[in-house]
Symmetry: D3
Amino acid sequence: MALSARNHLKGEITEVVLGTVTALITVKVGDNIVESVITKHSAEEMKLKKGDKVTAVIKATEVMVQKD
Amino acid sequence: MALSARNHLKGEITEVVLGTVTALITVKVGDNIVESVITKHSAEEMKLKKGDKVTAVIKATEVMVQKD
Amino acid sequence: MALSARNHLKGEITEVVLGTVTALITVKVGDNIVESVITKHSAEEMKLKKGDKVTAVIKATEVMVQKD
Amino acid sequence: MALSARNHLKGEITEVVLGTVTALITVKVGDNIVESVITKHSAEEMKLKKGDKVTAVIKATEVMVQKD
Amino acid sequence: MALSARNHLKGEITEVVLGTVTALITVKVGDNIVESVITKHSAEEMKLKKGDKVTAVIKATEVMVQKD
Amino acid sequence: MALSARNHLKGEITEVVLGTVTALITVKVGDNIVESVITKHSAEEMKLKKGDKVTAVIKATEVMVQKD
């Protein structure tokens, strides 16, 4: 199965915070921390929890570039 | 200066492709490749080119989570 | 494999237009037409073409609601 | 009045969940379910409720394509 | 007709650039310039051209905040 | 420091609402009101509060165009 989203960053969940509608999932990817806001429904259905091996997936049109 | 976007991934540009309206910027971040579609205007104004040290910036609401 | 994106609409590709950086993929979903702009790289790697059975995938935070 | 967003999916609201900042609106579109996260302000101002006829609106750059 | 997108900025188009898949629409909003990337299809169907009075529409989840 | 996002609208915060995961930041930009949904983490780390001078930052691919 292939998804057109270009960016797939493998990591491990370090924290899950559930709100009423949304959830914050924090993922350690190499030396970086990636934060994701998804629906609480998804977090619950996928049973996301600390320690889970997951992939952060990001569409290329959503990525900006910053130059110092 | 602080930006609310939660995700800042430092890396180096490996390729710049310019279209008419948009540009594809490929950034090596650790062991990962991150692809970004921005406007050609931005790519030109920032003079983005292979070898530039840049940061890929991503809003947390744009990040999905995949569990295998 | 599970992805947090809440919306998965099954359909069939009716048109593929390739630009320099991006590609327009048109998908017939039931009685609706769904248009997607992805990178040309993805369209080529996935060998997307007219007649392919695909799923349009959309993160819930990207969906607006209109009331007439 | 015309909006550049390419995707307009007509349906009926099946559930509204209000959080503090955001709201989850679930819409039945043909045989599909479409979930939308909008601000609670919008949900309240538009008085969105179960049974409302609405249109899910999605910008083409936000749609991904998956091939099985 | 009401749309859940929270941000509606009225202005006037100052430039339209058409690519193969996408189009860049530049809109003067008060003292600000707002740039939009939409599909070429939309730009053509809406016959967008310099001088048109338009509204830039932005979903609240797409807006970041920067503090100097 | 330069960021590829094309749209930078300067203004002043008129309201901050904190949820569990997200926060709603309302910014007065000239005669317009711009609403932003960011993570509560960002709102707290940046100590965003009423009266702060801030810039609303928006990627061009997230802006739609409406013609009346």
